[in-house]
Amino acid sequence: MLKNIDTIINKFTNSNRDNLIPILQEIQNTYGYLSEDSIVSVSKHFDLPTSKIYGIATFYDQFIFQPKGKYHILLCNGTSCHVSGSKKILKEIEKILKIKDGETTSDGIFSIQSVNCMGACSLSPVISVNGKFYSKVNLIEIKKIIKFYQTKEK
């Protein structure tokens, strides 16, 4: 795995910092997340401490730092969804799954990631699970949705 990360990094021959985000994007696209090993390789390439690379990456919603769960929940936190209560939904998911935004359950089944506007503002608040959209989600609905996937796993 490490070897392939180096292949990605080496495609960007100079260590110009403008390349940082494109490299991270490509790593995330290839592996689904940014692992510690990959950040270490990137940090060596740019001669920057890992805390800096990690810090910068956390400001981009697209990056996650744990492998995605079997069911990856995207939760819209764009303006419209925010106004219609996406934060409460997030809290609820976090409570049910006992993980925080950006994390994956220890059994690897669920992960949550909040993202910017998903382009369905009129249906806000919106979430998606592995690409399947759920609109106008409320606190009762979200319990049902998660329950549905949980029973599927039993």
Partner: protein, 573 residues
């Protein structure tokens, strides 16, 4: 070039190119700052330092804006005060309301600003989930809720130490300062030097406070609680009690510690003398056999942790000597306890240090014997001040006393180790004596006495032209170590993590400025000038310790008391 500017309707002088803030400060005009650190490139992030400049529509951050000829500035107009007030009110909106229980109560820059700006109510309230405290580390505690994101810690850690333990990050939609992958501090690359604590304006970063542990220890019947303090403490405590900064008050400290109730009070400078003698022997051995040169000093635990993380390949070059703190602890537990028939389990050792990394060092597994630590509790200068206040002791009105027999004598060479360059100076004195049988003609080695972060000298001792390098701060040390493969002329390298050495340690009083640190340094050099015993090998009680005990120990026992080993540490760099 000097130019005129107008401030609050008065003409003042300023240097072309300097910032407005610096011109104001040198003219005695105070403007509050938060993200600014003296000597660092400004970031202009917090904007608390804003002033009104005639002709400019917006308020100008004085810390990052250069003066211009005939600029007209207002530092405390209604508009400026209002802007500053709003900034602080917004910071407070996100800040917990627990000043009363905070480590920095009475000594917090945010608290002071709120008071100065006459903020008497919580104007905005931002209900946020509480962030967890990071309690993982034996030296430093991080309370993210109290962080105002000024970034001072990040910059000191990055620019002085070259470590960059923290950076800004967005986790769970909250901006915080985070270690790499938001790991707990105890498994991060932090070397625990405490320099970030020294610049943090709030209680977001502070040492692990061990006062309660000491109180408990003093309360247990039948425990023999032994305290000892590092060479630097006697010149850095005074200012906490409104005495002249740098004043040497070892006699008063001895008396105060007895009043607090410690059973024995020793001077760790005694152990420093032992450390100097042992390290000199090691150096002679390595020079004679031409192995593992250059020898690196081992009295700074932050430097040791740095080497374990960043340069594991040079660990064999680091001296095998335990640090003076640990030597003092093991002398008490191994020798003193036997001599006085006190079971080692009944002894509790407390060490007072100018340093936060010493707490971590005292907890290291390498620093234990059959599960018993050399040093049970380590506290900083700041905690000592607190302990003295807790016990209501009036330092201004107590008589000086001497430390307890038999570990009360010290050389001024031992004292010198508080300053960057001092350990090298102390070792050279003993080295010359051991090799030539004579004392150095001039004991004072002036080339090692300046505040540069890298110093080098060569001194001819016997047949060897001894090459010495002295470095303080880890960023400089890292750069230097990288050049070592090309250097064959060096024998001894002294490294300390804190700029200028322990006198500026991360456990020292928070309020200290450069002037105070200079006073501490001067005070130590004064002691060295006036002291009769200026070399470690002439410390009478140390000589006795060798003849009565150390010289009779088996190699294995000696290993236990005096020496140790370090190994590679895997952390995210």
């Amino acid at each position: 070039m000097i130019i005129d500017i107008e401030v609050n309707n008065k003409t003042i002088k300023a240097k072309r190119g300097e910032t407005i803030l610096s011109a104001l400060n040198s003219n005695g005009i105070k403007v509050p700052t938060l993200c600014h650190i003296d000597g660092f490139v400004p970031t202009g992030a917090c904007r608390i330092c804003v002033v009104e400049v005639e002709g400019k529509p917006n308020l100008i951050p004085s810390c990052s804006y250069p003066v211009e000829e005939w600029m007209k500035i207002k530092t405390h107009s209604q508009r400026v005060i209002k802007a500053r007030k709003t900034i602080v009110e917004l910071l407070l909106a996100n800040h917990p309301n627990d000043c009363l229980y905070c480590e920095r109560n009475g000594n917090c820059e945010l608290q002071k600003l709120a008071e100065e700006l006459n903020i008497r109510e919580r104007k905005y309230s931002n209900e946020r989930e509480k962030l967890k405290i990071d309690p993982s580390c034996s030296s430093i505690i991080k309370e993210s809720d109290k962080c105002i994101l000024c970034g001072r810690c990040i910059r000191v850690c990055e620019e002085i130490q070259g470590i960059t333990t923290y950076d800004f990050a967005k986790i769970n939609n909250r901006h915080i300062i985070s270690t790499s992958f938001n790991k707990p501090l105890n498994i991060s690359n932090c070397i625990l030097c405490g320099q970030c604590i020294m610049v943090c304006p709030t209680g977001a970063l502070h040492e692990r406070n061990n006062i309660d542990k000491i109180q408990q220890a003093l309360n247990v019947i039948n425990k023999h609680v032994v305290v000892f303090y590092s060479p630097t403490i006697s010149v850095s405590l005074a200012e906490e009690f409104n005495m002249k900064p740098g004043k040497n008050i070892s006699g008063i400290i001895n008396a105060a510690l007895r009043k607090i109730g410690f059973n024995k009070v020793f001077d760790s400078t005694f152990a420093t003398d032992v450390y100097i003698i042992e390290q000199t022997k090691e150096l002679i051995y390595r020079i004679e056999n031409n192995i593992n040169l250059p020898l690196f000093t081992s009295n700074c635990p932050a430097w040791i942790k740095y080497a374990e993380e960043y340069f594991p390949e040079i660990l064999t070059n680091i001296s095998k000597c335990k640090s003076p703190q640990q030597i003092m602890g093991s002398i008490v537990k191994e020798i003193y306890s036997e001599e006085n028939n006190i079971p080692v389990n009944d002894i509790i050792t407390v060490s007072i240090e100018p340093c936060t990394a010493k707490k971590f060092e005292s907890q290291r597994e390498e620093m234990t014997n059959n599960g018993i630590s050399d040093v049970d509790i380590a506290i900083t200068t700041r905690e000592l001040a607190q302990l003295i206040r807790l016990h209501g002791i009036d330092l201004q009105n107590i008589e000086e006393e001497i430390a307890d027999f038999p570990y009360h004598t010290r050389s001024s060479a031992g004292k010198l180790t508080s300053i960057s360059g001092g350990t090298a100076e102390a070792i050279l004195r003993t080295l010359n004596y051991k090799i030539t049988g004579k004392e150095l003609e001039d004991l004072k080695i002036s080339e090692l006495r300046n505040n540069k972060s890298v110093k080098e000298i060569k001194i001819k001792i016997g047949k060897t032209n001894v090459g010495i390098a002295v470095i303080s701060s880890m960023s400089k040390a890292g750069d230097f170590i990288k050049t070592l493969p090309k250097r064959k002329d060096l024998h001894l390298i002294e490294i300390m993590a804190c700029p200028c050495g322990c006198v500026n340690g991360g456990g020292q009083p928070i309020k200290a400025d450069t002037k105070d640190i200079k006073s501490r340094i001067k005070s130590i050099y004064d002691i060295d000038r006036k002291e009769l015993i200026k070399v470690a090998h002439k410390n009478p009680q140390v000589i006795e310790l060798y003849s009565k005990h150390l010289d009779n120990l088996s190699e294995e026992e000696k290993q236990k008391v005096l020496f140790t080993n370090y190994s590679k540490r895997d952390v995210l760099l």
